[in-house]
């Protein structure tokens, strides 16, 4: 009965067909081309309700809080919306808000739908997700206060994202066949002629990680403290 069944791709008795209902229950991802996006809509006003009830405690009333996670809103301008490039990313420091980085609106929709609120992921209705995404966009001055986000107009909103043109895949870290961007050589002698000490642990950070000696094995060469009988001999 099992003759010939060990040929590649055939494992008799293993696994079963997934049902449509099962696929529907788990297939929640939404892609940049909006494949997977469920039909529906939500207003900024409704989004504000959701936000204040379920999000603001962690992310701040205006999405500005740095307490639980980096700020969601801030750092984008009307000029950025026009250009599709967030200018402060060129010059700014390391503080980057979600809206500064967001290049695909699907990402925000998908993530809130799957993972937020943090302590109760997947508890939002489809309308609530549309609404709260609309609200965040409104906080970022990307859509007006009377906006209703829906599967019909989300592609238009995509064209307003401040950083929609801000990403690139032309680099050496995605495709194994691509060329690395940084090169060193395997020089063996008289390589650096002047060795400059560019950086050391700042004084204020010395204690930041607790008692370092207590994080080392008490024997062997990798010890945190020299032995009782003193300094190197």
């Amino acid at each position: 009965a099992y003759a010939g069944m060990t040929t590649a791709g055939q494992y008799p008795g293993i696994g079963r067909t997934a049902t449509p209902a099962e696929i529907a229950a788990w297939d929640i991802d939404v892609r940049p081309d909006f494949k997977g996006l469920p039909p529906g809509s939500g207003s900024v006003a409704k989004g504000q309700e959701v936000w204040e009830a379920k999000c603001a405690s962690c992310h701040g009333t205006f999405g500005e809080s740095n307490e639980v996670f980096q700020p969601i809103v801030g750092g984008t301008t009307a000029a950025d919306i026009k250009a599709g490039r967030v200018k402060s990313l060129v010059t700014g420091g390391e503080a980057r808000t979600t809206l500064m980085k967001l290049s695909t609106i699907s990402t925000l929709w998908d993530y809130i739908n799957r993972a937020m609120p943090w302590t109760a992921p997947k508890s939002l209705t489809t309308e609530e997700v549309y609404a709260v995404v609309a609200y965040i966009l409104n906080l970022g001055d990307i859509v007006p206060a009377d906006f209703v986000l829906s599967d019909k107009n989300i592609a238009d909103v995509q064209q307003k994202l401040p950083n929609r043109n801000g990403v690139s895949r032309a680099h050496g870290l995605w495709d194994l066949k691509a060329t690395p961007d940084v090169k060193n050589t395997a020089c063996m002698s008289r390589c650096e002629t002047d060795v400059t000490l560019a950086s050391a642990l700042p004084e204020y950070a010395r204690d930041s990680h607790g008692d370092l000696a207590a994080q080392q094995r008490a024997i062997g060469p990798g010890r945190g403290e020299p032995p009782a009988n003193g300094t190197p001999k």
């Binding site: 788990w26 991802d29 967001l102 801000g166 395997a186 650096e192 060795v195 008490a218 945190g224 032995p227």
Partner: protein, 401 residues
């Protein structure tokens, strides 16, 4: 305080009490076998724990704990000390209730139980896993004191599981248009990551075991993706679903995080290969060298592009280099342990290691990386690490060029 063996003292030195007086354990009866059906480390090893870096993240369930590389040996990371990275906390999932669904552009979407998966042809392979943000705190300046915090988002295990290609074949995936897969976890964050089909078919695994036993809960029990050479975030834990598609997904951790900011303000998206890198683990920051004289200097090297072929070590801040001894096995996308002799004469020194992989790529200096990528990239800092040895024997983290 522990004693160092001293050179033979005057003729009045009879010997150490540790030898002359036989210890209790040489004169008594110890504990029985199976006193611990599942054992744990010696009481004298308690300093070695995985630890958080204070201030790095705001909440501990969306955070990272670092492996104590300063105290590990060889290439295998003990499962109890494997680094952790969770986005919505970890769970200990009942494996009898766990399912894996493979769907999307396939002839037959399928559901597998753990029983099903573990009956399929399996492979066992050793691979390193490194978080894309490892050493990320050091793009700008020295920020953290020890190798646990500079490089501790790195671990290496022998994984056992089924090749993802076996599952994709079993479901009859669309070979023509199926260019990408999405892997999704079963935790609250339902972590999602895109992997290109050529990599998925190459060496990606759906693994249930690490280092001979089932995955630990913190590492995705009962199944996780193993994506050799790719940054850790792609190694989706508590894996519940694989979808085959024709486009990448631009998920939250492919768009808002794990994107590398370049000097021109552009984010490199889908940056995921962990390039060739190495670090000296002993001696390293926060340690104190016991004494002048002979020392074995040791460390780890790895490359997401394949095998490690050579590691050179400098003791003078990069002026001169010597080639280290490499331990076996030589495995692709796996840690490699190196060792090199050093006689310390008590003068200040700067120790560095530089790895070369099978593609010929040479691990770069921090200034070479910064010249191309600036210092706001966060991810994929594979710079040569420098440790300064002071006259006192104290070792500290520095950057030189």
């Amino acid at each position: 305080g522990t004693a160092i063996a001293q050179p033979l003292r005057g003729s009045d030195f009879k010997g150490e009490s540790e030898i002359l007086e036989l210890p209790e354990h040489t004169k008594g009866l110890g504990q029985p076998v199976a006193a611990r059906g599942y054992g744990s480390p010696s009481q004298f090893e308690q300093n070695l724990q995985r630890r958080e870096s204070p201030g790095l993240t705001r909440v501990s369930a969306a955070s990272v704990s670092f492996a104590p590389l300063q105290a590990l040996f060889g290439i295998i990371t003990p499962n109890g000390l494997h680094f952790e990275r969770h986005h919505q906390g970890w769970w200990d999932i009942d494996p009898s209730k766990h399912r894996l669904m493979v769907m999307g552009m396939v002839k037959q979407p399928k559901v597998y139980t753990m029983d099903d998966l573990m009956r399929l042809p399996s492979v066992s392979r050793m691979h390193f896993i490194e978080c894309g943000a490892n050493t990320g705190m050091e793009w700008g300046n020295v920020a953290v004191p020890t190798v646990q915090y500079t490089h501790g988002m790195l671990s290496c295990c022998e994984y056992t599981g089924v090749l993802l290609s076996t599952l994709l074949d079993d479901c009859g995936f669309d070979r023509k248009n199926g260019k990408f897969i999405l892997a999704e976890g079963a935790d609250g964050s339902s972590m999602t990551r895109t992997i290109s089909m050529d990599r998925a078919l190459d060496d990606v695994m759906v693994a249930w075991a690490m280092n001979g036993e089932m995955l630990r809960p913190e590492n995705g029990y009962p199944i996780r993706l193993v994506a050799p050479g790719l940054q850790g975030v792609s190694w989706v834990k508590w894996l519940r679903r694989i979808e085959v598609g024709d486009q990448p997904w631009a998920t939250k951790d492919e768009t808002l995080h794990y994107v590398d900011l370049m000097p021109d303000g552009v984010h490199r998206q889908y940056s995921s290969i962990q390039e060739c890198k190495s670090v000296i683990t002993t001696p390293s920051g926060g340690q104190t060298i016991l004494d002048k004289g002979f020392h074995n200097v040791t460390g780890l090297a790895w490359s997401g592009r394949g095998r490690i072929k050579r590691v050179d070590v400098s003791f003078d801040g990069g002026r001169n280099w010597r080639t280290a001894r490499l331990e076996n096995p030589e495995m692709p996308k796996c840690l490699r342990r190196f060792n090199i002799d050093w006689v310390w004469n008590g003068a200040p020194a700067i120790l560095q290691s530089r790895a070369i992989d099978e593609t010929g790529y040479v691990q770069p200096k921090i200034n070479q990386l910064r010249a191309v990528r600036g210092s706001r990239s966060i991810y994929h800092n594979n710079a040569i690490q420098s440790w300064k040895v002071a006259e006192t024997g104290e070792v500290s983290n520095v950057q030189v060029y």
